[in-house]
Each structure stands twice: as C-alpha cells, then as structure tokens.
Symmetry: C2
Subunit: 130 residues, 2 copies
DNA sequence: ACTGAATGATACTAAACTTGTATCATTTAA
DNA sequence: TTAAATGATACAAGTTTAGTATCATTCAGT
C-alpha cells in the first residue's frame, strides 16, 4: 500500500537536483548521480513535463527546468504527474456498475480520508524537500 | 493506489452482517448474500479470526462472532488484519540497505502523513459503518 | 462410532499493477 | 551534417492482489 512509489521518489530527487542546479539538466545528467537507470528517469522527466512541472528543451544542450519556483511545486503535483491523480476511494469493483455504490459503507469515509491526505501532500512543497 | 482493497471491502461488509445478525454466521451464510466468492470470504474470515477481530467455532453449526463490540472494532483493525499493518512509508527500495536512508527527502514527511491516516482509520469503527 | 457441516492451513493459478528496457521519430546546437 | 537531447510507444520482467482448490481438523447430531 504505497503512497510513494519508486517513481515518485525518483521524481522528487530529480526535481530537487534540477532546483539546486538552477539551469537546465539533461536526463543523463540526472540519472547518473542519483543512481537511477537512465531510461527510467527519462520516462519520469517526460511525465513531469507533460504535467507542467518542468519545461523541456529538445535537441543538443537541451534538458529540463522547473516550470515554476520550488515553493509552488507540491508533492501532490508530483504524484499526480507521475502516477495520475491520487484516488483512495476508487470503487474496489472497478467502477462501472457497482451494485453497492449506493449502499456502500466505506465510500464516504474513505473519500474524507483521501481529502485529508490530499491536503497534506499539497502542503509539502519541493522547497521543503530540498 | 488503493487504501481500501477489495478484500478489505469484503471484510467490512461481512463484519457488518455478523454484527447485524448478533449470533454466529458461517462463511457460506455470509458469502451468498454479499455476492462474494465463498472461498474468498472464507480466507478473509480466517484472517479476521487470526487478527482477533472475530472468534470462530469449528464443526457443525460453527461460524464467526465478533470478538468485541462493533464500537471497538476500527477500520484500522480490519485493514491490519486483512492486509497487514498500514505502511505508507516503506522505503521504496525494499528496505535492507537503502543508500538514501539518511538523506532521504521524503521519509519523514510521508511518515507524518501515514500517522494522520492511521488516526483516521482508527477513528472509524464498525459501529459507524453499519 | 459415524457422518456431515463447518473452520484451519496451504499451495496454486490468474489478473492487475509497477518497474525497467528498447526503439524510433523529432528537434536543436555546433 | 552530425551528435546530443527529448517525445512517444511498445514491450518484458517482477511484484502484488484476487481468486481457486485441497486436505486436515473439529464438533454436533444421529
Ligand atoms: S464498493 Fe463500489 S462504491 Fe463501495
Ligand atoms: S528511499 Fe529508502 S528511505 Fe527514502
């Protein structure tokens, strides 16, 4: 039951490195020091760019920069970009027609807990993590 | 990223049924109405008994009863019995010798969030869910 | 005693998700 | 023109979750 997957952890460390560096960093430059397989980091950085957390420049000398200051990038943003939006309360029967949807005993409670967790992960920013 | 797995959901519904029934209920008696595969429910009930949430009696006429009143059975207890203790912050590198353990940026933060979630799931009791 | 209904314990298969790998296309600076 | 970089995808391997199958053990009723 992981809140933080390995990819999220990689993402956080990579972003922290980018923040430190100031300038742009390439995936290769990030993977090496962090001990992350290069293709994996590439995939993660691509997700972060798609999610609007970094901006990328292609071609020779290209790389990644933060799209906004560290203080405005939250752990929640990072999780959302890498794994998709945090959803604790997805119906355990795969959505669609859940015959218990109305009488579900847990749905509301779990949704409430999810909201609190969301608050927490949004409160932690990259600035706190550097 | 599921806080509640299908098995936990099954467990909650089964326990609610046991609570309603007052007396003992067999796995067969529980599985049918809830629409859960019988062997699956059996496995879950066994886990709940091992976890001290229900007490079982074997043999003909046997079945399960709550080991304590619904108000004293929390969602946290149920999750722990069925899936093992809730751990959000397991080191994403599988524990052992994590070369980042000391410098890990996330560990403390995630542990704090985990504690809050634990508080929440412990606050919700079977009585609330029935 | 015997039988049948029930749980205890385990081993196994199948499906879903996470993690890591591999390619090819596109862009850009030198 | 070339080499270094990202974009986009497809694939393989590993891990976790979900479901199935068996056999052993207990116990009430006859
Ligand atoms: S199980 Fe589908 S909503 Fe609760
Ligand atoms: S990655 Fe191992 S402790 Fe953070």
């Amino acid at each position: 039951m992981k809140l933080i997957t390995r990819e999220v952890d990689y993402a956080v460390r990579a972003l922290a490195a980018v923040a430190r560096a100031g300038g742009g960093l390439s995936a290769a430059g990030l993977a090496g020091p962090a001990g992350v397989p290069r293709p994996v980091l590439r995939k993660i950085m691509q997700a972060l760019s798609r999610g609007g957390i970094t901006r990328s420049s292609r071609g020779r000398g290209g790389g990644f920069v933060l799209a906004r200051p560290p203080r405005r990038i939250s752990l929640g943003d990072i999780i959302a970009a890498v794994r998709g939006p945090l959803k604790f309360n997805d119906c355990v029967f795969g959505g669609a027609l859940c015959h218990n949807h109305r009488t579900c005993l847990l749905r509301g409670r779990v949704a409430a807990i999810e909201r609190k967790v969301l608050d927490e992960v949004r409160r932690v920013t990259l600035a706190d993590l550097s």
